[in-house]
Symmetry: C2
Amino acid sequence: MNKLVSIAALSLTVAATGNAAAEQLKPEEQILTRQAGYTFMSWNMGKIKANLEGDFSQQQVAAAANAIAGIANSGMGALYGPGTDKDIGDVKTRVKPELFTEQEEVGKVARNFIQAANNMAEVASMAESQDDVKAAFGELGESCKACHDKFRKD
Amino acid sequence: MNKLVSIAALSLTVAATGNAAAEQLKPEEQILTRQAGYTFMSWNMGKIKANLEGDFSQQQVAAAANAIAGIANSGMGALYGPGTDKDIGDVKTRVKPELFTEQEEVGKVARNFIQAANNMAEVASMAESQDDVKAAFGELGESCKACHDKFRKD
Protein backbone atom coordinates (compact mmCIF):
# COMPACT_ATOMS: atom_id res chain seq x y z
CA MET A 1 0.00 0.00 0.00
CA ASN A 2 2.75 2.40 0.93
CA LYS A 3 4.50 1.51 -2.29
CA LEU A 4 1.38 2.19 -4.32
CA VAL A 5 0.92 5.55 -2.65
CA SER A 6 4.55 6.43 -3.38
CA ILE A 7 4.20 5.50 -7.01
CA ALA A 8 1.02 7.53 -7.28
CA ALA A 9 2.74 10.49 -5.66
CA LEU A 10 5.70 10.11 -7.98
CA SER A 11 3.43 9.99 -11.03
CA LEU A 12 1.74 13.18 -9.92
CA THR A 13 5.13 14.84 -9.47
CA VAL A 14 6.26 13.69 -12.89
CA ALA A 15 3.06 14.93 -14.49
CA ALA A 16 3.42 18.27 -12.73
CA THR A 17 7.04 18.82 -13.71
CA GLY A 18 6.30 17.60 -17.22
CA ASN A 19 3.95 20.53 -17.59
CA ALA A 20 6.54 22.74 -16.00
CA ALA A 21 6.19 25.71 -18.30
CA ALA A 22 3.38 27.16 -16.24
CA GLU A 23 3.41 25.23 -12.98
CA GLN A 24 6.88 26.14 -11.81
CA LEU A 25 6.40 29.90 -11.81
CA LYS A 26 4.25 31.89 -9.39
CA PRO A 27 1.72 34.22 -11.06
CA GLU A 28 3.90 37.29 -10.46
CA GLU A 29 6.88 35.47 -11.96
CA GLN A 30 4.78 34.55 -14.99
CA ILE A 31 3.89 38.23 -15.50
CA LEU A 32 7.52 39.34 -15.16
CA THR A 33 8.73 36.59 -17.48
CA ARG A 34 6.25 37.35 -20.25
CA GLN A 35 7.14 41.05 -19.95
CA ALA A 36 10.82 40.10 -20.22
CA GLY A 37 10.05 38.29 -23.46
CA TYR A 38 8.24 41.32 -24.89
CA THR A 39 11.00 43.70 -23.75
CA PHE A 40 13.64 41.58 -25.44
CA MET A 41 11.61 41.24 -28.63
CA SER A 42 11.00 44.99 -28.65
CA TRP A 43 14.75 45.66 -28.52
CA ASN A 44 15.26 43.38 -31.48
CA MET A 45 12.39 44.95 -33.41
CA GLY A 46 14.11 48.30 -32.82
CA LYS A 47 17.38 46.96 -34.23
CA ILE A 48 15.64 45.70 -37.37
CA LYS A 49 13.87 49.05 -37.77
CA ALA A 50 17.19 50.89 -37.46
CA ASN A 51 18.68 48.62 -40.11
CA LEU A 52 15.82 49.49 -42.44
CA GLU A 53 16.28 53.21 -41.86
CA GLY A 54 20.09 53.29 -41.83
CA ASP A 55 22.95 51.00 -42.80
CA PHE A 56 21.86 47.45 -43.46
CA SER A 57 23.62 44.57 -41.73
CA GLN A 58 22.11 41.28 -42.82
CA GLN A 59 23.86 39.56 -39.93
CA GLN A 60 22.32 41.88 -37.33
CA VAL A 61 18.85 41.68 -38.86
CA ALA A 62 18.99 37.88 -39.06
CA ALA A 63 20.20 37.61 -35.45
CA ALA A 64 17.44 39.94 -34.25
CA ALA A 65 14.81 38.05 -36.26
CA ASN A 66 16.02 34.72 -34.84
CA ALA A 67 15.79 36.04 -31.28
CA ILE A 68 12.22 37.20 -31.91
CA ALA A 69 11.22 33.90 -33.54
CA GLY A 70 12.84 31.90 -30.74
CA ILE A 71 10.88 33.82 -28.12
CA ALA A 72 7.65 33.75 -30.15
CA ASN A 73 7.81 29.95 -30.42
CA SER A 74 8.70 29.32 -26.78
CA GLY A 75 5.16 28.74 -25.57
CA MET A 76 4.47 32.08 -23.90
CA GLY A 77 0.81 31.11 -23.47
CA ALA A 78 1.99 29.24 -20.37
CA LEU A 79 2.84 32.64 -18.86
CA TYR A 80 -0.83 33.65 -18.81
CA GLY A 81 -1.85 31.23 -16.08
CA PRO A 82 -4.52 31.69 -13.40
CA GLY A 83 -3.99 34.80 -11.28
CA THR A 84 -1.95 36.64 -13.91
CA ASP A 85 -4.87 38.75 -15.12
CA LYS A 86 -4.34 41.52 -12.54
CA ASP A 87 -1.57 43.48 -10.83
CA ILE A 88 0.10 41.52 -8.04
CA GLY A 89 1.59 43.98 -5.56
CA ASP A 90 4.32 45.92 -7.36
CA VAL A 91 4.06 43.65 -10.39
CA LYS A 92 1.81 45.48 -12.82
CA THR A 93 0.23 44.08 -15.95
CA ARG A 94 -1.52 45.85 -18.79
CA VAL A 95 -3.32 42.73 -19.99
CA LYS A 96 -7.06 43.12 -20.64
CA PRO A 97 -9.51 40.60 -19.13
CA GLU A 98 -10.58 39.67 -22.67
CA LEU A 99 -7.33 37.77 -23.16
CA PHE A 100 -8.52 35.20 -20.65
CA THR A 101 -11.99 34.75 -22.13
CA GLU A 102 -11.75 35.21 -25.91
CA GLN A 103 -9.82 32.02 -26.58
CA GLU A 104 -10.56 31.85 -30.29
CA GLU A 105 -9.44 35.41 -30.97
CA VAL A 106 -6.35 34.98 -28.77
CA GLY A 107 -5.43 31.84 -30.69
CA LYS A 108 -5.79 33.72 -33.96
CA VAL A 109 -3.56 36.67 -33.03
CA ALA A 110 -1.02 34.31 -31.45
CA ARG A 111 -0.84 32.11 -34.57
CA ASN A 112 -0.55 35.17 -36.82
CA PHE A 113 2.27 36.51 -34.67
CA ILE A 114 4.22 33.24 -34.65
CA GLN A 115 3.75 32.85 -38.40
CA ALA A 116 4.94 36.42 -39.02
CA ALA A 117 7.95 35.92 -36.72
CA ASN A 118 8.92 32.70 -38.49
CA ASN A 119 8.53 34.33 -41.88
CA MET A 120 10.67 37.30 -40.78
CA ALA A 121 13.42 34.94 -39.61
CA GLU A 122 13.33 33.00 -42.86
CA VAL A 123 13.37 36.11 -45.05
CA ALA A 124 16.14 37.70 -42.96
CA SER A 125 18.34 34.62 -43.25
CA MET A 126 18.80 35.23 -46.97
CA ALA A 127 18.20 38.97 -47.28
CA GLU A 128 20.57 40.93 -49.46
CA SER A 129 19.08 44.36 -48.90
CA GLN A 130 16.49 46.30 -46.95
CA ASP A 131 13.93 45.72 -49.69
CA ASP A 132 14.04 41.99 -49.04
CA VAL A 133 12.82 42.29 -45.45
CA LYS A 134 10.56 45.36 -45.49
CA ALA A 135 7.32 43.50 -46.18
CA ALA A 136 8.01 40.72 -43.66
CA PHE A 137 8.95 43.29 -41.01
CA GLY A 138 5.78 45.28 -41.69
CA GLU A 139 3.66 42.15 -41.30
CA LEU A 140 5.43 41.24 -38.08
CA GLY A 141 4.83 44.71 -36.67
CA GLU A 142 1.17 44.48 -37.63
CA SER A 143 0.85 41.13 -35.84
CA CYS A 144 2.28 42.70 -32.66
CA LYS A 145 -0.07 45.65 -32.97
CA ALA A 146 -3.13 43.43 -33.49
CA CYS A 147 -2.60 41.89 -30.07
CA HIS A 148 -1.77 45.20 -28.38
CA ASP A 149 -4.92 46.79 -29.79
CA LYS A 150 -7.16 43.97 -28.62
CA PHE A 151 -5.61 42.70 -25.43
CA ARG A 152 -3.38 45.41 -23.94
CA LYS A 153 -4.55 48.44 -21.99
CA ASP A 154 -3.16 51.83 -23.03
CA MET B 1 26.72 74.70 -48.63
CA ASN B 2 23.36 74.04 -47.03
CA LYS B 3 23.08 70.91 -49.12
CA LEU B 4 26.51 69.73 -47.99
CA VAL B 5 25.59 70.30 -44.36
CA SER B 6 22.35 68.38 -44.82
CA ILE B 7 24.15 65.44 -46.39
CA ALA B 8 26.71 65.43 -43.62
CA ALA B 9 23.94 65.48 -41.02
CA LEU B 10 22.13 62.69 -42.82
CA SER B 11 25.29 60.59 -42.93
CA LEU B 12 25.78 61.04 -39.22
CA THR B 13 22.20 60.00 -38.60
CA VAL B 14 22.59 56.96 -40.82
CA ALA B 15 25.82 55.99 -39.09
CA ALA B 16 24.19 56.38 -35.70
CA THR B 17 21.11 54.36 -36.51
CA GLY B 18 23.25 51.76 -38.26
CA ASN B 19 24.91 51.02 -34.94
CA ALA B 20 21.53 51.08 -33.30
CA ALA B 21 21.97 48.10 -31.02
CA ALA B 22 23.58 50.19 -28.34
CA GLU B 23 22.97 53.81 -29.32
CA GLN B 24 19.19 53.78 -29.28
CA LEU B 25 18.78 52.70 -25.67
CA LYS B 26 19.59 54.77 -22.61
CA PRO B 27 21.91 53.08 -20.09
CA GLU B 28 19.01 52.16 -17.77
CA GLU B 29 17.13 50.67 -20.74
CA GLN B 30 20.21 48.65 -21.66
CA ILE B 31 20.35 47.22 -18.12
CA LEU B 32 16.63 46.35 -18.13
CA THR B 33 16.86 44.81 -21.59
CA ARG B 34 19.82 42.59 -20.78
CA GLN B 35 18.07 41.49 -17.58
CA ALA B 36 14.96 40.70 -19.64
CA GLY B 37 17.09 38.47 -21.85
CA TYR B 38 18.51 36.60 -18.85
CA THR B 39 15.06 36.27 -17.24
CA PHE B 40 13.63 34.78 -20.39
CA MET B 41 16.56 32.41 -20.84
CA SER B 42 16.26 31.34 -17.21
CA TRP B 43 12.61 30.41 -17.71
CA ASN B 44 13.56 28.29 -20.67
CA MET B 45 16.45 26.66 -18.80
CA GLY B 46 13.92 25.75 -16.11
CA LYS B 47 11.64 24.15 -18.68
CA ILE B 48 14.48 22.03 -20.05
CA LYS B 49 15.47 21.02 -16.52
CA ALA B 50 11.88 19.98 -15.77
CA ASN B 51 11.84 17.91 -18.96
CA LEU B 52 14.99 16.14 -17.82
CA GLU B 53 13.52 15.40 -14.40
CA GLY B 54 9.98 14.52 -15.50
CA ASP B 55 8.18 13.69 -18.72
CA PHE B 56 10.22 14.46 -21.82
CA SER B 57 8.70 16.56 -24.60
CA GLN B 58 11.22 16.94 -27.42
CA GLN B 59 9.09 19.73 -28.85
CA GLN B 60 9.18 21.75 -25.62
CA VAL B 61 12.91 21.19 -25.11
CA ALA B 62 13.70 22.17 -28.70
CA ALA B 63 11.54 25.31 -28.46
CA ALA B 64 13.20 26.30 -25.18
CA ALA B 65 16.67 25.66 -26.58
CA ASN B 66 15.87 27.73 -29.68
CA ALA B 67 14.69 30.65 -27.55
CA ILE B 68 17.92 30.53 -25.54
CA ALA B 69 20.08 30.28 -28.65
CA GLY B 70 18.20 33.12 -30.32
CA ILE B 71 18.77 35.38 -27.34
CA ALA B 72 22.39 34.27 -26.89
CA ASN B 73 23.19 35.18 -30.49
CA SER B 74 21.40 38.52 -30.49
CA GLY B 75 24.42 40.64 -29.65
CA MET B 76 23.78 41.29 -25.97
CA GLY B 77 27.25 42.82 -25.64
CA ALA B 78 25.65 46.00 -26.98
CA LEU B 79 23.63 46.14 -23.74
CA TYR B 80 26.77 46.69 -21.67
CA GLY B 81 27.43 50.20 -22.96
CA PRO B 82 28.96 53.13 -21.06
CA GLY B 83 27.13 53.99 -17.86
CA THR B 84 25.63 50.52 -17.40
CA ASP B 85 28.22 49.40 -14.85
CA LYS B 86 26.31 50.81 -11.85
CA ASP B 87 22.78 51.11 -10.49
CA ILE B 88 20.82 53.93 -12.14
CA GLY B 89 18.13 55.09 -9.72
CA ASP B 90 15.71 52.21 -9.22
CA VAL B 91 17.38 50.18 -11.95
CA LYS B 92 19.80 47.89 -10.15
CA THR B 93 22.54 45.80 -11.72
CA ARG B 94 24.62 43.03 -10.21
CA VAL B 95 27.37 43.30 -12.82
CA LYS B 96 30.94 43.44 -11.48
CA PRO B 97 33.31 46.18 -12.67
CA GLU B 98 35.60 43.47 -14.05
CA LEU B 99 33.18 42.86 -16.92
CA PHE B 100 34.10 46.26 -18.32
CA THR B 101 37.86 45.82 -18.03
CA GLU B 102 38.70 42.15 -18.58
CA GLN B 103 37.84 42.07 -22.27
CA GLU B 104 39.70 38.88 -23.09
CA GLU B 105 38.06 36.89 -20.30
CA VAL B 106 34.63 38.34 -21.13
CA GLY B 107 35.07 37.35 -24.76
CA LYS B 108 35.99 33.83 -23.70
CA VAL B 109 32.97 33.26 -21.45
CA ALA B 110 30.68 34.87 -24.02
CA ARG B 111 31.97 32.65 -26.85
CA ASN B 112 31.69 29.54 -24.65
CA PHE B 113 28.11 30.47 -23.77
CA ILE B 114 27.06 31.06 -27.38
CA GLN B 115 28.72 27.83 -28.48
CA ALA B 116 26.99 25.86 -25.71
CA ALA B 117 23.63 27.46 -26.55
CA ASN B 118 24.01 26.62 -30.25
CA ASN B 119 25.05 23.06 -29.41
CA MET B 120 22.06 22.66 -27.09
CA ALA B 121 19.68 23.86 -29.83
CA GLU B 122 21.22 21.48 -32.36
CA VAL B 123 21.14 18.49 -30.02
CA ALA B 124 17.57 19.27 -28.92
CA SER B 125 16.35 19.48 -32.51
CA MET B 126 16.92 15.74 -32.97
CA ALA B 127 16.71 14.42 -29.40
CA GLU B 128 14.74 11.25 -28.84
CA SER B 129 15.15 11.04 -25.09
CA GLN B 130 16.50 12.83 -22.04
CA ASP B 131 19.84 11.07 -22.43
CA ASP B 132 20.39 12.81 -25.76
CA VAL B 133 20.34 16.31 -24.25
CA LYS B 134 21.74 15.84 -20.74
CA ALA B 135 25.37 16.51 -21.62
CA ALA B 136 24.59 19.54 -23.78
CA PHE B 137 22.33 20.97 -21.09
CA GLY B 138 25.01 20.44 -18.45
CA GLU B 139 27.57 22.27 -20.58
CA LEU B 140 25.16 25.12 -21.20
CA GLY B 141 24.48 25.46 -17.47
CA GLU B 142 28.23 25.48 -16.79
CA SER B 143 28.73 28.24 -19.35
CA CYS B 144 26.08 30.37 -17.60
CA LYS B 145 27.66 29.70 -14.23
CA ALA B 146 31.15 30.60 -15.46
CA CYS B 147 30.00 34.13 -16.24
CA HIS B 148 27.94 34.45 -13.03
CA ASP B 149 30.91 33.36 -10.94
CA LYS B 150 33.28 35.83 -12.56
CA PHE B 151 31.16 38.81 -13.44
CA ARG B 152 28.02 38.83 -11.28
CA LYS B 153 27.81 39.94 -7.67
CA ASP B 154 26.09 37.60 -5.21
